[in-house]
């Protein structure tokens, strides 16, 4: 590989160790004015206090949204009334006392924003009484596509891998290489690793339901081969999603401001590895704007992680 055979011939001044960098204060300069309640805030969500708040909100999602909508309408009316009073006072001398239209027509809503699944509520910061007009949808409008689901299931009985390899068409078994049978089915297009203990790993599905259906098909094949296979403890272990933000990203800038989460080593890998804490997802961010998200147990984590990272990435868009 590339070799730098040069040895620094001169001694540089001894700078203080750069390792003790101050933890990155997220330097986030929004492109568009963000409202107080509708935009996912970067990193600040990882604060332990908001963690609890977030969880509570997710649990009481529906009720809260409805209550908040009612609350907002009340507050809106209050704000409008207040403004009307103030403007009428101000406008008394000359104007005809027109109420400003802008507060009326804006409908502030915390309904699920377009592009996100209903499972996942937009992260809402505490509603403040004064809510000036904001554009309703600040979400990215991009939905990550699921690319791979890894799940495990216990077939509940010991298996004889030699028999399976002999009697199944779609199986390969090479005990010297790997101690499991590799089986494939066409619909849904997946691969399974079947171990002699009866445990099975199913990979390659594009959705949770497809993964479950595929695992059931594998169990059925094993059943037909003569084993008393059951379908116990089906669990999704990992989900991988990907999407494209469609603009180039300055990875060097991102690693500077988010040092405690990012790892960018161009000598090793062209992408930046971002380890988000809440939700616990690893993102691979590339200069072309493509983002790969992995490590999720549920779909909502992938969507949430992307909504968290999108404003951060937008901040690194401007080049010159």
């Amino acid at each position: 590989m590339d070799q730098n055979n040069s040895l620094p011939p001169y001694a540089q001044g001894l700078a203080s160790p750069q390792g003790a960098m101050t933890p990155g204060i997220p330097i986030f300069s929004p492109m568009m004015p963000y409202g107080t309640g509708l935009t996912p805030q970067p990193i600040q969500n990882t604060n332990s206090l908001s963690l609890l708040e977030e969880q509570q909100r997710q649990q009481q999602q529906q009720a809260q949204q409805q209550a908040q909508q009612q609350q907002q309408q009340q507050q809106q009316q209050q704000a409008v009334a207040a403004v009307q009073q103030s403007t009428s006072q101000q406008a008394a001398p000359g104007a005809s006392g027109q109420t400003p239209q802008l507060f009326h027509s804006q409908t502030l809503t915390t309904a699920p924003l377009p592009g996100t699944t209903p499972l996942y509520p937009s992260p809402v910061t505490p509603m403040t009484p004064i809510t000036p007009a904001t554009p309703a949808s600040e979400s990215s409008g991009i939905v990550p596509q699921l690319q791979n689901i890894v799940s495990t299931v216990n077939l509940g009985c010991k298996l004889d891998l030699k028999t399976i390899a002999l009697r199944a068409r779609n199986a390969e078994y090479n005990p010297k290489r790997f101690a499991a049978v590799i089986m494939r089915i066409r619909e849904p297009r997946t691969t399974a690793l079947i171990f002699s203990s009866g445990k099975m790993v199913c990979t390659g599905a594009k959705s949770e339901e497809q993964s479950r259906l595929a695992a059931r098909k594998y169990a059925r094949v094993v059943q037909k081969l003569g084993f008393p296979a059951k379908f116990l403890d089906f669990k999704i272990q990992n989900m991988v999603g990907s999407c494209d933000v469609k603009f180039p990203i300055r990875l060097e800038g991102l690693v500077l401001t988010h040092q405690q989460f990012s790892s960018y080593e161009p000598e090793l890998f062209p992408g930046l590895i971002y380890r988000m804490i809440k939700p616990r997802i690893v993102l691979l961010i590339f200069v072309s704007g493509k983002v790969v998200l992995t490590g999720a147990k549920v779909r909502a984590e992938i969507y949430e992680a992307f909504e968290n990272i999108y404003p951060i990435l937008k901040g690194f868009r401007k080049t010159t």
């Binding site: 730098n4 040895l7 011939p9 390792g19 010297k176 081969l225």
Partner: protein
Amino acid sequence: MPGGGRCPDCGSTELVEDSHYSQSQLVCSDCGCVVTEGVLTTTFSDEGNLREVTYSRSTGENEQVSRSQQQGLRRVRDLCRVLQLPSTFEDTAVAYYQQAYRHPGIRAARLQKKEVLVGCCVLITCRQHNWPLTMGTICALLYADLDVFSGTYMQIVKLLGLDVPSLCLADLVKTYCSSFKLFQASPSVPAKYVEDKEKMLSRTLQLVELADETWLVTGRHPLPVITAATFLAWQSLQPSERLRCSLARFCKLANVDLPCPASSRLQELLAVLLRMAEQLAWLQVLRLDKRSVVKHIGDLLQHRHTLIRKAFRDGTAELEGGGKELQGQDLGPGRGKAEAASSSLDLPEGKRPASPALLLPPCMLKPPKRICPPPPISTVTGDEDISDSEIEQYLRTPQEMRDFQKAQAARQAATGVPNPT
């Protein structure tokens, strides 16, 4: 001489403490009678303080520095000396190695990993002091694989929770360029190829900055870009003699390895320079190509900021807004000889400079290798019925099984190896 004690036999007061091995005794020095004696055995409560010590604790293996650790620490110091690093770097690297060694995962790791760990500690130390050391150098010195190195490096950074700053590009340029053997004439380097170090360094730095601005550096290994920039800088300082020299020959002359991607970086850099040249009126008429543009690199670098702004439109805005054609070039405040009026008058309609190219990383400019159709919306619930016929297609017929077994037996007989399955 105990006070008040008398021997019961002879009545003398001369009693002495004379222990019999571990048993304490009080003996009369006249007649030898044992007056009192201590307890020979210890009670359980006494033994409470004399608990047994486990073997591993008695050997002190966790407190002492093991032999392999000592060897590792020696290698760290040796590596620092080979790289001619300041002495404080040595202490820091040694401290990191010791810190890493405290983790059981590292203590029990293979020797290969411990070897590579030496390099990782030195690299982290250098990065923290902004000393430009590439992983390639360390791997070459340790005769290690980059894959093994990268795995250990990522692990140790996570384990020790370190903040490792990025490689400093400017310092790397200075170090790497200085290693090119072109600054003095020698039997292999003719006089026309010798170059002044300072001039070459400054021009290379400017070219690398240009590459950085135009998205040629992000996400890529830095060294090939620097190699290409050095080559262009060297060529442009005396183009008449050096244009004939290729990149490979240049590296051979300079006694430096040619990294594989350097040629494609060179082409990318030349393409950027050509686009910039199109914005300079006196260069437009020359109809430059990738070879002739080298002669004008000096001019292009002098006005690079303006030229980049004019030659490229912001790729991101372009993608956002859906593209608007920038028709007239408004030539900015004249820093060069280009006169706004003269250029728009001189060039007829057909020869108007091309509309600016998008300033994007090369990977975004290339057409996608394959178009991935959006996946069809699947209505699978996961609980559907599974038809028997569908499963049966995956089962072998008895005939197939016999054939398979026959084939296996034949293979086994042919190779003479016992059947592994």
